[in-house]
């Protein structure tokens, strides 16, 4: 397995995804006095997923601000602070709640640079978490990254591993335009090697996690782990070797890495937890069709969350989610074509 791109001559150690995110926040807060955090229950409580634990104690209430339950209000406030030269990092507790702040995110933050005729910059970072957890239900499990890819204005990162959770967040905070970093609630306790100290992963660089010549499997977020599990099953059962590509960022999207793989394998399956209909996978399928038609030996297949709200009960959640067996079936179908 190709390790994450590491800075030269830095040591790594095992951290949870959650701790890697916190480390990035801590480093940015310490490094740049213009940064500050805002969000519900992030300060005194340390965050509902404990990502921001200890930060209020270290940096104080001016840098770690607890907000009322008022997403439109505090996201809008972050927009104004960013216009004035601050670098706010706003947490939206569940991605589902971006809908509550949708105007401030997509009519304001995404558009003010353009509406100003390039006169302003908006160095806003929004952190949120998405995905099916354990019974979080239809209104606390949604994956909306496709909205932010469809409506221009935000760069979007969806890390799958702790190192990328740290590095992509650092990159986001340093960008002068709005960035959305989407964590997955089920990934917070997962562990991985994370470089120490300053670590920045640029947006727009996908990573080939495993290499193989028979099929290309593209995924992002928790679905990368689903894809890896499927790749192991395919290897053991069918002797099939897959390129598993972790997109890492949806905007900008590293088409070159995907195309390079597809030109070699001729077969592409895209996996994501978000709904299949009109999802990121649909965009990738269309674009690969336009740019690598003569290399494709089968239609592009997508394996995704069902096109219905997420159920609550555990067996129904499992039936809703794209599972490794679903990816195996999709790969087999493109190999048969």
């Amino acid at each position: 397995m190709t390790p994450p791109a590491a800075a030269a001559a830095t040591s790594s150690r095992t951290l949870t995804f959650r701790d890697a995110v916190r480390e990035a926040l801590e480093l940015e807060l310490a490094r740049d006095p213009r940064t500050f955090l805002m969000g519900e229950d992030i300060g005194a409580y340390g965050g509902v997923y404990k990502v921001t634990a200890g930060l209020l104690e270290r940096f104080g209430p001016d840098r770690v601000m607890d907000t009322p339950i008022a997403e439109a209000g505090f996201v809008g406030t972050a927009v104004g602070a960013a216009l004035a030269g601050k670098r706010p990092i706003v947490e939206i507790m569940f991605m589902d709640f971006v809908l509550v702040a949708a105007d401030q995110l997509l009519n304001q933050a995404a558009k003010l640079r353009f509406l100003s005729g390039d006169a302003v910059r908006l160095p806003l970072t929004v952190r949120t978490q998405h995905g099916v957890g354990a019974g979080t239900g239809a209104q606390h499990s949604q994956c909306f990254e496709a909205f932010f890819a469809h409506i221009p204005g935000f760069a979007v990162a969806v890390p799958a591993f702790p190192a990328d959770a740290k590095g992509l967040l650092a990159a986001a905070v340093r960008m002068d335009d709005p960035c959305l970093v989407v964590e997955h609630k089920a990934l917070y306790p997962t562990k991985g090697e994370v470089p120490e100290g300053e670590y920045v992963v640029p947006f727009g660089q996908a990573r080939i996690v495993e290499a193989g010549d028979d099929v290309t499997i593209v995924a992002y977020g928790r679905a990368v782990h689903t894809a890896l599990a499927a790749a192991a099953l395919l290897r053991d059962r069918d002797g099939v070797a897959a390129d598993v590509i972790d997109l890492r960022t949806i905007v900008p999207l590293d088409r070159e890495t995907v195309l390079g793989s597809v030109r070699r394998t001729g077969r592409l399956v895209v996996v994501h937890e978000a709904h299949r209909n009109v999802g990121v996978g649909a965009e990738i399928a269309a674009r690969v069709g336009e740019l690598a038609w003569s290399d494709l030996r089968a239609p592009v297949r997508r394996v995704a969350g069902l096109d219905m709200p997420v159920p609550y009960a555990q067996p129904l959640e499992a039936a809703w989610l794209p599972q490794p067996e679903d990816v195996v079936a999709a790969v087999r179908s493109v190999l048969r074509s």
Partner: protein
């Protein structure tokens, strides 16, 4: 110099969306220890948007140096505001937020100035936000083509008598300012407006090749 550099932040086509943004500008000024006061202007209709209420509350709890100016011109687009609000005056609906309030005759420039000065002093002195309700009237329709079926000509004419310029001229006369001086101001303003209009009409249309002006680096502006 861009409008932004002069302190006129981008204007907004979403009613009430500017209020939390104003809170953010005020928050930044407070964090930096700057004496800048932020002003958000909006109409009576904006007081029905959820984000209006959120912004006022945030300004209070964080003691932000921001002034919320409600220009109550009696109509929220084509609907009388009185049919859309449950209290007699808009200032009454914000009292529950613990915010300082001022009301003034929005047709009287001196009254408006006095209310704004009080609010600015409060903001600069660390006293937090103020909500100002300025009562005024909309002489024209909401937009070109507005049939104005929602009000009578008599009502419009009654308010015309309270045109801010009429009130100001009368006041200047009582202060001993001569008609020639007032006429000179009218003339200067007329010239500036005409020049601006002429310049705008004479300016060439934007070059389609520059369609991507203001697009962010990761927006792929290609067909």
């Amino acid at each position: 110099m861009s409008s932004f550099a002069r302190g006129v932040v981008v204007s907004n086509a979403i009613v009430a969306a500017n209020l939390p943004v104003a809170c953010g500008l005020a928050l930044a000024a407070k964090q930096d220890g700057r004496a800048t006061v932020t002003l958000a202007a909006f109409g009576d209709g904006a007081t029905n948007q959820a984000v209006f209420h959120e912004a006022l509350n945030l300004a209070v709890i964080w003691r932000l140096p921001v002034i919320f100016v409600c220009e109550n011109n009696q109509y929220s687009e084509m609907t009388p505001i009185r049919t859309m609000v449950g209290v007699e005056r808009l200032v009454d609906r914000v009292r529950g937020y613990g915010i300082a309030t001022e009301t003034c005759d929005g047709m009287d420039v001196e009254a408006v100035r006095a209310a704004a000065a009080d609010a600015a002093d409060r903001a600069r002195g660390g006293g937090g936000p103020t909500f100002i309700e300025a009562e005024t009237y909309r002489f024209c329709g909401h937009m070109p083509g507005d049939a104005e079926t929602y009000r009578s000509r008599d009502e419009v004419e009654a308010w015309r008598a309270r045109d801010p310029l009429t009130i100001a001229r009368t006041r200047l006369a009582t202060l001993g300012v001569g008609e020639t001086e007032v006429a000179a101001v009218d003339d200067t303003v007329e010239r500036r407006l005409s020049a601006a209009l002429d310049a705008a009409r004479a300016a060439p249309p934007p070059d389609p090749a520059a369609v991507a002006l203001g697009a962010s680096p990761y927006m792929e502006v290609t067909r």
